[in-house]
């Protein structure tokens, strides 16, 4: 497999799936904080 393919795969999957994972993790953390402060 070419280097450019590996780089694109990491870039695309990292941004899209990674972006979703980070947003989900942050949302979970914020919800937990809100629950604890209630």
């Amino acid at each position: 497999m070419e280097t450019s393919t590996v780089v694109t795969m990491i870039l695309v999957l990292g941004t899209v799936w990674g972006g979703f994972a980070i947003a989900l993790r942050t949302a979970l953390k914020k919800e937990k904080q809100k629950k604890n402060s209630q």
């Binding site: 393919t5 694109t8 899209v16 799936w17 972006g19 942050t26």
Partner: protein, 498 residues
């Protein structure tokens, strides 16, 4: 002023709302359009601008829709009227009408998916000898009307149950089920012999293609069509967001969640195509029957399911869950389109059930021409698909008119926000979105004039002409401008600026 008789309902939790909004965004376009557009635009080269426009188009507009809905608590007419000023309420009517016009034929699409689901379940789909003839005889019959009616009835039933028991509960079931289905299909696809070739094609960039402006415009179009940004649907669901609900983080979850599903579908389809149709598979995706949305889903993929190793039971299983997933994706989006139209009439003082009965009946009747004629269907898809870009422009205009910075501070970063959006947002919504709207509309008109219909691009009775877009948009805009004061009187409360 009209008094709404609607019982106030709100999504019960952040996750209930997120799943419902992802239900809007994830539609058939993620599954059947994304893969063929990637194939036609150089594989990996397409994915880079596709991600850039996720950040430059989808996220700013999804943030705007979430914030406008929560800030105004009104459907599209009232929301734009409140935000930009009552004299611009007609723009909200246009946004709402574009999504409703799409609902008319999208219900037909949901019906097609359900028909193929039943054919696959019964085993008749994979025993057919000629898939082209099967598709032709189905669309040439009266059967699509029956399935269109079924889809509309299911959608209407969900809306009848209300925001929490209908929209939220349905999406809580269908969206996780759709993800399980897509993951199951993806695991099977990537473990087929030869699947790796497809994954390599999907992620291999060609620098030459990356510099082609057409690839960038195709990536922007894909974001405009498949994320639900700028349609007015997210705005409508956001009317039911709790006051303490966040905007920016939820918008990011929606946008990244939607594109994650597209990627998963892309990996599945490319793996399947390269494993089961090596050599000709990608050519089929680029210029064969698979190069159209319906051709890919209803003609090409069923042929591939027949070649899947494991025998008829395994083939039927995977074909059935594919069409089940496609039906779920279509239904969750259709539900939001029905709700948008219903909410518009509720804002005008109509009772929810009466508004629903009217929208479902009109939705069924106005969908019939698309169910009977592929030409009519394609014309409507072209006209209102490009109309969505105008809708995106109107949303951006409303924010600019209200004051981008004021909107950011009060509506986006208001009560409940987990993540504060910086001043970069003002630039995105004031400059970047209008520039992209302009580029998209010029591009699609250019295609009509120089590629689709050079002889008759001006003719309003031609399928893919500039004339048909301008005529249909023009009629609706004139109508909404003429009735603007009446709509404002019916929709907006006394505090509105008339």
């Amino acid at each position: 002023m009209a008094e709404t008789t609607e019982k106030k309902e709100f999504f019960t939790s952040r996750w209930g709302m997120i799943l419902a909004v992802i239900g809007i965004a994830v539609g058939t376009g993620n599954i059947w359009r994304f893969s063929r557009i990637v194939a036609q635009n150089g594989g990996g080269s397409f994915l880079i601008p596709w991600i850039i426009f996720l950040l430059a188009w989808s996220i700013p507009l999804i943030i705007a829709e979430f914030a406008i809905g929560k800030y105004t608590r009104k459907g599209t007419i009232g929301a734009i009227g409140k935000l930009a000023g009552a004299r611009y309420a007609w723009m909200g009517a246009f946004i709402g009408f574009v999504a409703t016009a799409i609902m008319f034929y999208y219900s037909v699409v949901a019906g097609w998916c359900m028909k193929y689901l039943t054919s696959s379940l019964s085993g008749s789909l994979l025993t057919t000898e000629d898939h082209v003839a099967l598709w032709g005889s189905f669309t040439g019959s009266y059967e699509p009307i029956v399935f269109h009616m079924t889809a509309m009835l299911i959608g209407a039933f969900v809306i009848y149950k209300g925001v929490v028991s209908g929209i939220e509960r349905t999406n809580r079931i269908l969206i996780p089920s759709l993800l399980v289905i897509l993951l199951t299909l993806a695991v099977r696809a990537v473990t087929l012999d030869g699947a790796w070739e497809g994954i390599q094609y999907l992620f291999t960039p060609s620098w030459e293609t990356l510099l082609d402006y057409k690839v960038w415009l195709a990536a922007l179009t894909q974001n405009a069509w498949d994320t639900g940004a700028g349609w007015g649907l997210i705005l409508t669901y956001a009317c039911y967001a709790r006051q303490k609900e966040d905007i920016a983080l939820n918008a990011a979850l929606t946008a990244f969640g939607n594109n994650s599903v597209s990627l998963l579908a892309g990996i599945t389809i490319f793996s399947t195509v390269f494993a089961l149709a090596p050599g000709d598979g990608v050519k089929e995706l680029i210029s064969g029957q698979g190069s159209t949305n319906t051709g890919l889903a209803f003609i090409f993929l069923p042929q591939l399911f027949e070649k899947m190793p494991g025998g008829p039971a395994v083939q039927t299983f995977f074909s059935t869950i594919f069409f089940l997933g496609l039906s779920f994706a279509a239904l969750t989006s259709l539900i939001s389109m029905i709700e948008l139209a219903v909410k518009t009439f509720i804002d005008m003082g109509m009772a929810r059930n009466r508004a629903l009965a009217m929208v479902a009946t009109l939705g069924f009747l106005f969908g019939i021409p698309s169910a009977l004629s592929m030409n009519f269907f394609e014309n409507q898809d072209f006209v209102w698909g490009i109309g969505l870009m105008v809708s995106g422009g109107f949303i951006s205009f409303a924010v600019i008119k209200h004051g981008a910075d004021k909107f950011r501070r009060e509506a986006v970063n208001g009560e409940g926000s987990d993540v504060k959006v910086g001043k970069w947002y003002n630039v995105m919504i004031t400059w970047l979105i209008p520039i992209q709207v302009f580029a998209l509309i010029v591009w699609w008109f250019y295609l009509s004039i120089f590629s689709y219909d050079p002889e008759g691009w001006w003719n309003p009775f031609h399928l893919y002409s500039v004339g048909t877009c301008l005529a249909q948009w023009g009629v609706m805009m004139v109508l909404f401008i003429v009735f603007n004061k009446w709509m404002v009187r019916k929709t907006l409360s006394s505090g509105a600026e008339v």
